[in-house]
Homo-oligomer: 133 residues x 4
């Protein structure tokens, strides 16, 4: 059982659905990216400000398992857990349909920091996130 | 002064920003489409269900004026007014940044109904929206 | 009859279609933006480089008329004409389905330049585009 | 070394870049989806037509490794290999920057068929793709 530390509720927007009538897969990547950035913001960190300061958090690897597709009108909650593995921040990000909590996707997102374009530890992120490890 | 009949608050998602660091223009079209569909839903009408029943509401003309760009972290409210002109439903859709209410875009969206692929009045929409004209 | 000065052929990508089975309207804004940027590039101007140099070309007003929707598998040509009106560059941008040349959208895009954030003439753009006026 | 059976050249569109100035990750999912659908089309199969006939090819699992980000102005080639594992079609989909062939992403996409909403083999797809196994 994942120990989620952040959750964000959202609702499907019709333009996110494709000709199969379900949310196009790439939008789940949008949903989980937005969730990570809102998590950062809840910790006082702005992704845009980080970028302007020369630190870019980038995704190195992504795994997604698609369980149940979301459809027009569906609401969902996007949940996030975090662990550190060496230099990587590993986010476990799962989405559940509301109100029945049916799993929609399960994903693992490995991110690293580029400081001025070079792979490096971000002192700021380590300090903020230390409490979760 | 427009007499808005529906409002929806949203927040910029970072993936909606482009390399200029501001929300890419096409996303405003997404925002106002989502607002129209949520307005429909608030009236008990599902855009997806309409489509399955053979009625497609489609945009015939669109005008947008871009006032102030939204940026990462911005919240905004999307407001909607509605009038009927002949067979057309004309939506006035304006977006304001929060909390300062600075105008972001002003737009006019002319929509028509295709019933089984042919331009036609939708009895259902006319009944639901009649109170607004 | 517009005197087009640039054309770009493209093909619908299925993820651009929505639950109505047609290209979602916001994607036409993507298509015409991409056409403008490729036009710039054909003139030796990079939108991204302009931004890095402190000049941002931004859309001030947009008008679109939607004629015939594109569908999965459709190819199309996006054509561009250009005129100057005061400080504005006005692009007339029309899309035609291929191979039957049926009009898909007709649009007018009014753009202005922000130099270091302030409305201004771009000497570079004026020099490059002068031959078209 | 993968034995690629299909390749598609594309070019970055500026709206696909985000505030970091690089292609937003979700767009790679768009690129590889479009590549799969063009591969299907090259085999005489339309994703949209399949859907209308009650057969939906859906992604069950996805793995992506991000190597080098694409930027404004970059061209790239998206290559595809295919194998069958039980009921699954497994696509290996790699993207290389042009002209230097630097790896951009490496991905594996496991897809299954839903026939009238139920997991099933698609006789049509098996016949078309048999030559590749």
């Amino acid at each position: 059982m994942e120990k989620y530390i952040f959750s964000l509720e959202m609702k499907v927007r019709d333009y996110e659905c494709d000709l199969q009538g379900i949310v196009n897969n790439a939008n789940y990547q949008h949903y989980i990216e937005h969730t990570r950035h809102e998590f950062l913001r809840s910790e006082g960190i702005s992704f845009a400000a980080l970028h302007e300061q020369g630190t870019d958090a980038v995704v190195a690897r992504l795994q997604m398992a698609f369980k149940t597709p979301l459809r027009s009108g569906d609401s969902f909650v996007s949940r996030l857990a975090l662990r550190k593995e060496g230099i990587k921040y590993v986010f476990v990000q799962d989405i559940f349909r509301l109100p029945d909590n049916k799993p929609v996707i399960r994903s693992t997102v490995e991110t690293v920091c580029l400081v001025n374009g070079r792979l490096a530890e971000s002192v700021e992120l380590n300090e903020r996130f230390g409490k979760y490890f």
